[in-house]
Symmetry: C2
Subunit: 163 residues, 2 copies
C-alpha cells in the first residue's frame, strides 16, 4: 500500500522522514471473520459477529477487573496502510478531504479505535462485538469506555486484591 | 517514571523486550493550561478550558473538512508514563486492578484518547475543549468522532476540491 499507483484523483502525499518518535509493542492479536478489506464492514456494529482479542500471555493479569465493564475501547494497528496521504478521495467521486477529517485507515499513525461490547473474558481472550477490522490485526490497547465510569456492576471480589 | 520506587502496594511489573513492533511519528503538540500531573483534571470536560492542537506544517492540509464536525477524537502520546505495569493500585487504598481495566496513563502503549468539542481551526491549529493532558503532550492523530457520521453541517464548499 505504498505504491503511487494506489492514489485516487486529487489525493496528495507528503514526503516524510522515517517514523521514529515513539515505539509500540503489540499486546496480542485480533481475530475477526474478515480476511480481506472488501469483507470488512464499513463500521463495526454492537450486534455484529463475535470477535476475539487474544492477549499475549504476559498481559493476561492486566485484564483483571475489566469484566465489570459493558463497553470497552480497543486500539489496534492498521498495519497495511500507507502513512503519507494528507488529502484523500475515499469514494473516488471527486470529493477530497483532509486525512484528519476521515476515519480512513490511511493516516500518519494508522491506529484504529473502536468502542465494543464486552461479552466475556476466558483465559486471556476477550470476546467482543462491534469491530470492523481484518483478522490478524495487531492489538495495541484495551481500556474501559471513557463514558463508562459507571461500571455495569460493582467491582467483583475477584477484581480486588486484599492488602 | 521507570523507577521501582514509584510502585504502590500490590502493583506488579513485567520484564519486557524493547518496544519495536511499530513506530509513531508525532504530528504536532498539544497546548493545555496544565504544567504538572497534579494540575491535570481527572477527566476532560467539554466545557473545560480551551486547548490547542498545534499541527506540524506538513499536516496543515490534512485538516481540510474537519471543520464540519462538532466532536472529534484526539490521540496523544503519554510520554512520561512507565509501560511495564500489569497490576495497578491507582488510589493506594489496597484495591488493585489490571492495567486494561483502567484508563491510567500507565500502560504498555501509553496512548491517550479523548473526545473533544471542536471550537475552530486557524492556521493549522485546532482549538478544542475537553482535554485533560499535560501541556506539551505529543499529538498522534485527530479523527471525526465515530458517532458523528452525522456532521453538524453538510460539507462546506471549501472542503471539496472540484475535479
Amino acid at each position: 500500500m505504498t505504491n503511487k499507483d494506489d492514489l485516487r484523483p486529487n489525493e496528495q502525499t507528503v514526503t516524510l522522514a522515517p517514523a521514529s518518535d515513539a515505539s509500540l509493542r503489540f499486546i496480542g492479536k485480533i481475530r475477526t471473520p474478515w480476511r480481506s478489506r472488501q469483507q470488512c464492514p464499513r463500521q463495526g456494529q454492537i450486534d455484529g459477529p463475535e470477535c476475539q482479542l487474544v492477549l499475549d500471555l504476559v498481559w493476561h493479569e492486566a485484564l483483571r477487573g475489566l469484566e465489570a465493564y459493558e463497553m470497552i475501547e480497543v486500539l489496534y494497528w492498521l498495519d497495511r496502510s500507507r502513512r503519507d496521504l494528507v488529502l484523500q478521495s475515499p469514494k473516488s467521486d471527486g470529493q477530497t478531504f483532509g486525512t484528519f477529517a476521515l476515519r480512513s485507515p490511511v493516516r500518519p499513525n494508522p491506529i484504529g479505535t473502536a468502542l465494543v461490547r464486552l461479552e466475556r473474558i476466558e483465559a486471556g481472550t476477550v470476546y467482543v462485538r462491534g469491530l470492523d477490522c481484518l483478522d490478524g490485526t495487531p492489538l495495541i490497547d484495551i481500556k474501559p469506555d471513557r463514558c463508562a465510569f459507571s461500571p455495569k456492576a460493582p467491582p467483583k471480589p475477584a477484581a480486588i486484591i486484599p492488602r
